[in-house]
């Protein structure tokens, strides 16, 4: 009986101890989360509107929880003093020029005090400090803005409705474009033309690109003209020489013109033999007579030469000549066969 009692007492003891441990663990976890056991300093902020902030809400500095709200009290009709517990470990990082504003830890989360900013030049906060407070946008103000946006949206949708009605009824440029088949056809044709033009332009561009590529190929005149300085200098020299040659030709032309003028003037007078031949009629007649005399003399000389061929002194020579000619003709025929 005694053994049973002591065993029972042990199990009951274990049950009670474990239960108390669970309860203590819950308190410790909760205390750790709420920073109830932390060493803290207290700072104040004076707000005009705390927007539903309550005791126990969190204080964040740059998004990190550094404390909780200790107390909220009215100072007068428009000022509310909020007392905050701030973790002593976070104190060195929060400076006196830090700014506090009412915020929330999510879109619909609990209200918090968000501490932001502060410069390293300012000293860290101390117990009892009153920090600067920034006005924050309240939910009501956000709702007011949304209300204005809603009204604008209603106006925009109203206008859109009218536009859509006009389009559906075929009024206006857009309406005609959508409802009129002729406009559609025209547009279609224009698009086809545009398509064709685009094709041509593409071909042209490709051609130009090929031509440009060929022009840029090394060894081609255009490429050398642009890139090869030797060729360019040569061309420049050639151009200079051509210019000089042109000057010389010009000069020669001038000289020829002078010579021609001189010859012309001399030909128009009887001072030169050519001028006498061209201008003097007596000399012309004498020249004609001389030519006639030469013709008759030539005829008579021809007769005399024919007579010489038949003379026995020269007959042998002509016969040899005839034989030599025939022999050459025979040789040519044989070669041809």
């Amino acid at each position: 009986m005694k053994t049973t009692d002591s065993r029972r007492a042990t199990t009951v003891g274990i049950f009670i101890v474990l239960g108390l441990i669970i309860f203590a663990a819950a308190i410790l976890v909760l205390g750790g989360q709420k920073k109830s056991f932390m060493q803290s300093i207290q700072i104040k902020g004076i707000f005009h509107n705390v927007g539903g902030l309550s005791r126990g809400n969190n204080v964040w500095y740059s998004g990190v929880k550094v404390g909780t709200i200790k107390k909220i009290t009215f100072m007068d009709h428009s000022r509310i003093e909020v007392l905050m517990n701030i973790d002593k470990n976070a104190r060195p990082f929060i400076h006196k020029d830090v700014r506090a504003r009412i915020s929330s830890d999510g879109l619909v989360g609990n209200k918090i005090i968000a501490l932001d900013g502060g410069t390293a030049q300012a000293a860290p906060i101390e117990d009892g400090d009153v920090i600067i407070v920034e006005a924050s946008v309240s939910t009501e103000e956000m709702m007011d803005t949304l209300q204005v946006n809603n009204k604008n949206l209603v106006a925009v949708t109203g206008n859109l409705r009218v536009i859509m009605e006009n389009i559906t009824a075929g009024r206006g440029t857009l309406g005609k474009l959508i409802t009129d088949p002729s406009v559609y056809e025209q547009l279609n044709r224009t698009l086809a033309l545009l398509h064709k033009t685009a094709g041509n332009t593409q071909q042209l561009t490709e051609g130009l690109a090929g031509y440009a590529a060929r022009l840029q190929k090394p060894g081609v005149l255009a490429s050398d003209l642009v890139s090869d300085t030797v060729v360019f200098n040569k061309l420049r020299g050639t151009a200079t020489q051509l210019q000089e040659a042109a000057v010389q030709a010009n000069k020669v032309a001038h000289d020829l013109q002078a010579v021609s003028a001189n010859v012309n003037s001399r030909l128009n007078t009887n001072e030169s033999p050519a001028g006498v031949l061209l201008n003097d009629s007596a000399t012309a007649r004498q020249l004609q007579q001389t030519i006639r005399n030469l013709e008759s003399s030539t005829g008579k000389l021809d007769t005399n030469m024919e007579a010489l061929r038949h003379n026995f002194l020269f007959r042998g020579y002509f016969r040899k000549q005839e034989k030599l000619r025939r022999k050459q003709e025979k040789q040519q025929k044989a070669e041809l066969q």
Binding site: D5, R8, T11, V12, Q33, K34, S36, G56
Partner: protein
Amino acid sequence: MEPIGQSGKPVISKRIDHFFITVYAIFGFIGRFLREVVRPPFETREFIRQCFHIGNKSLPLISLTGFITGLVFTKQSRPSLAEFGATSWLPSLISIAIVRALAPLVTALICAGRVGSSMGAELASMKVTEQIDAMEVSAINPFKYLVVTRVLACVVCLPLLMCYNGLIALAGAFVDIHLNEQTSMDTFIQNAFTNISFLDLMSSLVKVLIYGFTIGIVSCYQGFHATQGTEGVGKSANVSVVASMFLIFIEEVIIVQLVNMIR
């Protein structure tokens, strides 16, 4: 005690008079308990025995119920939160529900069913078999031995059972959340305790103390005042459970209102 006035007629009606007499008797019973609890000798062995029966023997049932409560409540809450992409709030939601309401209430209801009926039936059978009278004859204070130990064991064990129940319910919730949202244990604990305050924890503790006291007092009263033989035993067990549960819900409503006033 008969509900009859000095003239032999009921003051209001027989039933209403009976109700007020019962209330008077219960408060007398409570007063006697408060007197006896601080007066030696203390029945430590019986108290430990009752703690064993109420606490240790109820632990498996409480654990199973807690685990299922946490798991099912998480599963049922998920679709509503998932509708607006707030499943990350599940740990917070579940922990608030468990700590503020489910753990104390489920523990109390389970104990009312299991312990209340047992105590009511046990004491009633002792009453109808005149064992309690025999104890008085043998110079043992039956009230101290039977009632004080049981009520005290209820008051001590129910908060502990609530702690177990809450822990296991959170474990059940964690299992479901971890399997569905792949939330780590650290994140779960962090999120679970974010929106719980000391007030929540303390109010639950006070609540469950009151529930324990209620279960103990109601069950012992029903058993201690059992009549009509074996039929009275069943009736006592039944009334113990029903009255305890009813009073637990009434107390829940009142305490929640009071806590909200403080919050």
